[in-house]
Amino acid sequence: MAFEPVLTRNLGNPAVLAVDGYRAAGGYRALAKALAMDPAEVIEVVKASGLRGRGGAGFPAGVKWGFIPKETESPKYLVCNADESEPGTFKDRILMESDPHQLIEGCAICCWAVGASTCYVYIRGEYVEPADILERAIAEAYEKGILGASVLGSGFRLDMYVHRGAGAYICGEETGMLESLEGKRGQPRVKPPFPAIVGAFGAPTVINNVETLCNVPHIVERGADWFRAIGSDERNTGPKLYCVSGHVERPGAYEFPIGVTLDELVERAGGIYRGRALKAYIPGGASAAILPAETSHLKMDFDTLAQAGSMLGSAAVIVMDETTCLVRATLRLAKFFNHESCGQCTPCREGTNWTEMVLARIEAGAAAAGDADLILRLTRNMTGTALCPLADAAVGPIRSLVENFRDEVDAHVRERRCPLPARPFFGNGGSS
């Protein structure tokens, strides 16, 4: 049976931007159903669905909700992570722009389940238009009694606010986000304590990605069994938005059951750019290891990609054709991580700087003997040695360049130039 889109089913139906249109499309039924359930029952359904976080780490959402203490006088918070800054990722923007009430409904159900009465949607500062769309939808939800003093007349109070970031990749890391929400530099915290115990403003806090929360109304309405029937296996369930960018004919966000292959995605995206051949791809955003074309038959789910030495991450699939210099491509990502390292931990601050420097001289034809191995040593020292995952993220593509494409790196070192006939990207302006 053909897969019916779930998360993007309302794409192209602007009526759903308003409450009435969203209701006409079946919206807010799940919230009513959840409010009639015991909160613990809602958590059980989400647990049973196997829903794993769509922001990158893939942690089971229901389990995370279950960590929130029940017997406490403290306020509790939901922080929706809409800081979407992983290079290659644009799915959350599309979800918020096209169907903001789906997110509001998912947030409201989560808040009911964990007993939170305040939800902040932390949205990256560059997303001005999506933030406006969401603000308007929230305002209407208040007017229609979906948010505020008594959610759908249940007596449950819920306030929801959009909080704009100000341009910092690290604020997508959950504790960096909490610091930023509290009005500080977005430098990640030491864990434990985990946010479920000490989160926003010292209170128990759930942090979930936009897409994760958008799945929730469908799980509540259609049941855990329905959700589990979608996807590759018991550990990789549900629908997934794949962001396809780079060298394909039609870049875009495509919804599939989790576990689609790159071959299927490329076909949906109109094939490789200008009929060229695939060289390599990044399956899960800039933090994921670069995989060679030979792996294009692998299921793109959490576990298969982890076994292949990469990760599903945010499912930002960056496709690179045969004309791409992978040293140059990786150098661009190394520059990004160097710029975005918050500087708090030495292995990350120094490591992202050194890896960029060494990659830059390899790319420029000025490598020293042993530079490829130097990169491997640097990445080893950056792995697992910092407070947050940014250093490990930087290591993902950089180490994979040397491990999976050693010949191309060695050719740069040996010939003291890029061995490819042309360098088709960056044009003449390599200055970025």
Binding site: E129, P251, E340, S432
Partner: protein, 171 residues
């Protein structure tokens, strides 16, 4: 506090502090947060808009006074985030994405086209005060690569000629 500022107060309706409408905008947000400090990012966005797109020392001092925070704390936050500026910017602010997904589709050429059209370097303002530009990290619109952000709007599927036209048509 504003007397201590080296930059000198900016003439505004509300004197050297925050303009009245900016103060009102911040006050409207206050009930959303359990602490005054959490208002800092929203307040800096408001102040930056009031000061024409950047945060001179006077603006930082004014926000610090408004929220009861040490100015050093506010400086620390301003310097951390890419969207807060401590130097003057153009009336129109252009951010060209050059991260990998855009680079693979010609983002570098878009950056060159913008630079060539404006005749200034990154981070500088044109002599007429109209525009400034920077290259930027991924803006989350890779389906429309190469793309750039002009003020609050995204422009995608650019060609160098198209980017030039957009820049030239800014008032």
């Amino acid at each position: 506090m504003s007397e201590a500022s080296g930059a000198g107060p900016v003439a505004r309706a509300g004197g050297p502090g925050l303009p009245a409408e900016a103060r009102a905008a911040i006050e409207r947000l206050r009930p959303r947060y359990p602490t005054a400090e959490a208002l800092l990012l929203p307040a800096l966005h408001v102040a930056q808009a009031a000061w024409g797109g950047w945060l001179p020392d006077a603006a930082i001092q004014a926000v610090a006074a408004e929220l009861g925070l040490a100015p050093a704390r506010v400086y620390g936050v301003v310097t951390f985030y890419d969207l807060f500026h401590q130097r003057p910017v153009g009336r129109h602010r252009i951010r060209v994405c050059t991260n990998l997904p855009c680079a693979l589709r010609g983002g570098g050429e878009i950056l060159d086209a913008v630079r060539g059209t404006l005749g200034v370097d990154e981070g500088e303002v044109t002599a007429d005060g109209r525009c400034s530009f920077v290259h930027f990290e991924c803006l989350g619109a890779c389906e429309a690569a190469p793309m750039m952000m002009v003020d609050d709007r995204y422009h995608g599927k650019l060609t160098p000629a198209g980017a030039r036209r957009i820049v030239e048509e800014l008032d």
